[in-house]
């Protein structure tokens, strides 16, 4: 018998009698009145930086300035003309200083932001860049993870990720170090 059938049959034989799924009513949970305030607070906790802007024009200006100052930038933000094409090869992305990527929405309880593969160009971009900038509109916030998963169909794209702050580790004596393998900084630009 194949390993698959052996496993499935033993599991079927040994499993307990049916136990029902719980009824989950998460609307009973308290949610913050001001999602933006709660999100901003959590973003700081996870090591992120908040930048507020009125609209894309300010952002566009900022990126132009940085580019002319010689910063190696990949800009993937939508609503600002054609996004940059992202090279497929990881080695070519190794030297990217800063990536600007549109987030789908943020989660107030933990400062995480959902990012779709389509927004990244290449899956590795938000991980390999030295600094990551995620761009969100102020109204794109949900209170908690229950509402977050309500909002997305996770298999819509091949890959998607919640990102909460810059890459970090505390594997040496529990000392927090920002910038383990991935970005050493995460900024979130909120467009009002």
């Amino acid at each position: 018998m194949s390993a698959r059938n052996t496993i499935i049959e033993t599991v079927a034989k040994n499993k307990p009698a049916l136990i029902p799924l719980p009824e989950m009513d998460f609307s009973q949970f308290e949610t913050p009145v001001d999602l933006f305030e709660a999100f901003s607070k959590q973003l700081l906790v996870v090591g992120g930086r908040l930048i507020e802007m009125n609209d894309e024009s300010g952002l566009s200006q900022l990126i132009q300035q940085e580019k002319s100052a010689g910063v190696n930038i990949i800009n993937r933000v939508t609503n600002m003309g054609e996004p940059d094409v992202v090279p497929e090869n990881a080695a070519a992305l190794h030297a990217v200083d800063k990536a600007y990527i549109s987030g789908a929405f943020g989660v107030a309880e933990n400062g995480a932001i959902w990012v779709w593969e389509s927004a990244m160009g290449q899956r590795i971009l938000p991980f390999i860049c030295q600094q990551l900038v995620l761009v969100l509109r102020r109204k794109q916030l949900v209170a908690n993870m229950h509402l977050a998963y309500n909002r997305i169909n996770v298999q819509e794209e091949g890959f998607g990720v919640f990102i909460a702050g810059p890459s970090k580790t505390a594997d040496i004596e529990q000392s927090l170090v920002i910038g383990a393998h991935g970005p050493k900084a995460l900024s979130v630009i909120i467009l009002h």
């Binding site: 390993a3 698959r4 052996t6 496993i7 499935i8 033993t10 599991v11 079927a12 040994n14 499993k15 307990p16 049916l18 136990i19 029902p20 799924l21 719980p22 989950m24 308290e30 959590q42 996870v46 497929e88 990881a90 190794h94 933990n110 400062g111 995480a112 593969e117 290449q122 899956r123 590795i124 991980f127 390999i128 993870m145 229950h146 998963y149 309500n150 996770v154 298999q155 794209e157 091949g158 890959f159 998607g160 990720v161 919640f162 909460a164 810059p166 890459s167 970090k168 580790t169 505390a170 594997d171 040496i172 004596e173 529990q174 000392s175 170090v177 910038g179 383990a180 393998h181 991935g182």
Partner: protein, 456 residues
């Protein structure tokens, strides 16, 4: 069997300062967990739901596994099944050989530790680079991880500095965690870019969507998986959850329980390989279906590997992960490992005071301390307890079932303690007396007093 937990723990505690440091470091993690969960008024409801979702899943696990497989295949993922550790290792070796690959990176997967994948591949001349910082440190040192979330928690920064000096050429004596992490970053980013194949674990596998979720803080699973042209994700059969909406419960609990973070930095959802990439999933049994059949122990399979039970365990904190001589240490390991090898791990259910703190911190409500008690019964029944201990229990059980004999022995014992105390003061024969005084023996028992004072 090699040395028992008690013997290894005695070696660990021999360095009292280091034991204090280990205890305090992990207690600090426990406190961070407390602070995080106290901010969630619905925490106990979430525990209830998480437990119920997992129990439901186990009761339909065969069906969910089949659904997961079907959906994953339709997503373009190659699904493999391994009934034991060897099969798991062979499947991975076969994929590596088929593609003639030599550059392999691996992010944290306790399953691959359980299956001893690295040693197996090493024997075939294949080296795997562990990319989790803690795992890389212990890999350099040729040690197993001592904790499932914090693999190098038994080491001080001076130890890491020595190791990095030797393997990465860092400055001798520079113990700054920032500097050491930066060196590892440079070293490992190079490995990521060169890697051809990435192995990751799986935190949750979603039956209805055929995808899986991997959680890290460092971003190493993503760096590996998105750079390599082949991604192999290894999962135990118990990683399944029915629906994506259930992730809402588990992602709220995992990091809060593990480190006190509200969520891990990266919660990555893989559903399809990227263009030109191959994605494999290896679904592993390795004794889990046997555990599912043990009524008293099946709900240990609810575990999401947060390690909260490690951090709270007063025994773990003072004996270190290596004293458990298994891939998964701590209280949860002590109820999982007897299923894998009862004889070799017969000591582990006894490495506990049954204080119950593990059960209380468990986000999926595994009754860990009750299962420890139950494993003790099974192990005794199987004759895996030392004959001397068994005999003393038989004698004790006999005395305590015979009131007059009990009184006689009690009286004699107290008399001996009062008049010939040296008899019990052999530290080698009486472990109690090694570091503790004996209680003072009164001339009369309560029973004697009662008869004199209350019954006439």
């Amino acid at each position: 069997m090699s040395k028992s937990h008690a013997a290894l723990a005695a070696e660990f505690t021999a360095d009292e300062n280091r034991t204090d440091w280990h205890d305090e470091t992990l207690w600090w993690v426990r406190q961070k967990r407390d602070k995080a969960v106290q901010q969630i008024p619905e925490w106990e409801i979430l525990r209830q739901w998480a437990s119920a979702i997992k129990e439901h899943t186990l009761s339909k696990l065969d069906e969910y596994l089949a659904i997961f497989e079907r959906e994953a295949i339709s997503n373009g993922i190659k699904v493999h099944w391994a009934n034991d550790a060897t099969a798991h290792n062979e499947i991975i070796l076969k994929i590596i050989k088929e593609h003639s690959i030599s550059k392999i990176v691996k992010s944290k997967s306790m399953l691959t530790e359980e299956c001893h994948l690295n040693e197996y591949l090493h024997q075939s001349g294949i080296e795997v680079i562990d990319t989790d910082l803690g795992e890389r440190i212990v890999q350099f040192r040729g040690e197993p991880p001592s904790h499932i979330v914090l693999p190098a928690i038994h080491l001080k920064k001076e130890d890491v500095s020595e190791t990095f000096h030797e393997h990465l050429g860092t400055e001798k004596g520079n113990n700054d965690p920032q500097y050491l992490t930066e060196s590892a970053r440079t070293h490992l980013r190079e490995k990521f870019i060169q890697s051809e194949l990435a192995i990751t674990g799986v935190n949750f596998a979603i039956a209805e969507t055929g995808g899986f979720v991997v959680c890290t803080n460092e971003g190493n699973a993503d760096m590996g998986a998105h750079a390599a042209k082949i991604h192999i994700a290894c999962m135990g059969i118990e990683k399944i959850i029915p629906k994506a909406e259930h992730l809402g419960v588990f992602t709220r609990m995992l990091a809060r329980s593990a480190t006190g973070q509200a969520i891990t930095t990266y919660t990555s959802h893989f559903h399809r390989p990227r263009p030109g990439q191959e994605m494999h999933i290896v679904i592993v049994n390795n004794g889990r279906s046997r555990q599912l059949g043990r009524e008293d122990f099946r709900n240990s399979l609810k575990c999401i590997r947060c390690a909260a039970c490690f951090n709270t365990c007063p025994v773990y904190r003072r004996s270190g992960g290596h004293s458990y001589h298994t891939a998964v240490a701590g209280p949860i390991g002590s109820i999982l490992n007897p299923n894998l090898d009862m004889k070799a791990n017969a000591d582990l259910p006894f490495a506990s005071t049954l204080c119950g703190s593990c059960t209380n911190v468990c986000p999926v409500k595994i009754n860990i301390h009750e299962q420890l008690w139950k494993w003790r019964q099974v192990i005794a029944e199987e004759g895996l307890v030392a004959p001397s201990k068994k005999m003393s229990m038989q004698v004790l059980g006999y005395i305590l079932s015979k009131p007059s004999l009990y009184r006689l022995i009690g009286k004699t014992g107290r008399w001996v303690l009062r008049h010939m105390p040296l008899l019990v003061k052999f530290k080698s024969l009486n472990p109690w007396y090694k570091q503790r005084e004996m209680p003072e023996a009164p001339s009369e028992s309560f029973r004697d007093w009662y008869k004199k004072n209350r019954r006439s």
